[in-house]
Symmetry: C2
Subunit: 177 residues, 2 copies
């Protein structure tokens, strides 16, 4: 039963430009089309939890990329588009309640995605593992990965991999809880 | 002629707690008392530029740690304490003017330290190399390393080292200027 963050950020901690732009993520040359370990990561995931912003960004791609059930955590979204029935499900409320409900339904390992959603999980200390890939760019503005917390959270470093001599992916697990 | 940032941050990009606290930096076990490469770095430095906050933090240690001339960039500080005469010098004004003046005086390689000072150098694209050491903690609040920029700045990754299976130090140089 593990809740994971797996995300790319700029050196200054942004996951997207201020308007949600992700093009800067694609500017790092990737000649061998590495997936930077994503396929191996997603293999161990049972369901994905994301917020409305991330969901709408993914929908805007026009191709639904996930082979796992997606739960969209939003107080404002009215409904999931009909063509995504059975693939994405709308949910709302407290993080703890959501996690309990998903566990009850058999989803053990959750991939938590999107800035506000990750922040709401961290705020209640419900992230067990952080896998953060740093791109070699300082964006200077954007949508931040982290938000304010009442208490600091200690992690242990598990490992770091460098891809294409450009991306630095570090894996952390929650420690001293 | 290179301007360097060499600094430690939390995973969420803070260089100190909100009250300037640095104790969290010492919480990572360091059995062999590694300096994490600092001695080798400072070897190549001719002078250090820092802001008033960093200067006052260092002064509060009671022991002056630098063997290089320190320039304190501040509009508010009135004078440098007399016991630091010849070690630290007060300066103010534009970053570009300061750098030109220091170069004229023979200081080629500058170590730029402190959040606001680093941010003012980045704002005018005057940082050439970034050496950032990430500690495995999410502070949740504090003094940020990075600030807002009008333009994104691309860097190239030079190398990453992991110390004590805990600290991840990545070295970047400015690219595509």
């Amino acid at each position: 039963m593990t809740n994971y963050v797996y995300i790319a950020t700029s050196l200054d901690g942004y996951i997207a430009t201020s308007d949600g732009g992700l093009n800067w993520l694609l500017e790092v040359p990737n000649p061998e089309q590495s997936d930077y370990g994503f396929a191996e990561f997603i293999e161990g995931i049972d369901a994905i939890v994301m917020g409305r912003n991330t969901f709408e960004t993914v929908v805007s791609f026009g191709v639904w990329p996930y082979e796992r059930p997606v739960f969209v955590l939003s107080e404002h979204l009215k409904e999931i588009p009909g063509n995504l029935a059975g693939k994405a499900e709308l949910t709302s409320g407290e993080v703890l309640t959501l996690v309990q409900e998903l566990r009850r339904r058999g989803y053990e390992n959750l991939y938590v995605d999107g800035g506000l959603t990750i922040q709401s999980f961290l705020a209640v200390d419900m992230i067990d593992e952080l896998i953060i890939t740093r791109l070699p760019v300082v964006l200077g503005a954007g949508i931040p990965l982290f938000g304010e917390l009442a208490e600091m959270l200690q992690f242990e470093h598990v490992g770091t991999e460098v891809y294409n001599n450009a991306l630095v992916k570090s894996h952390y697990v929650r420690a001293n809880r």
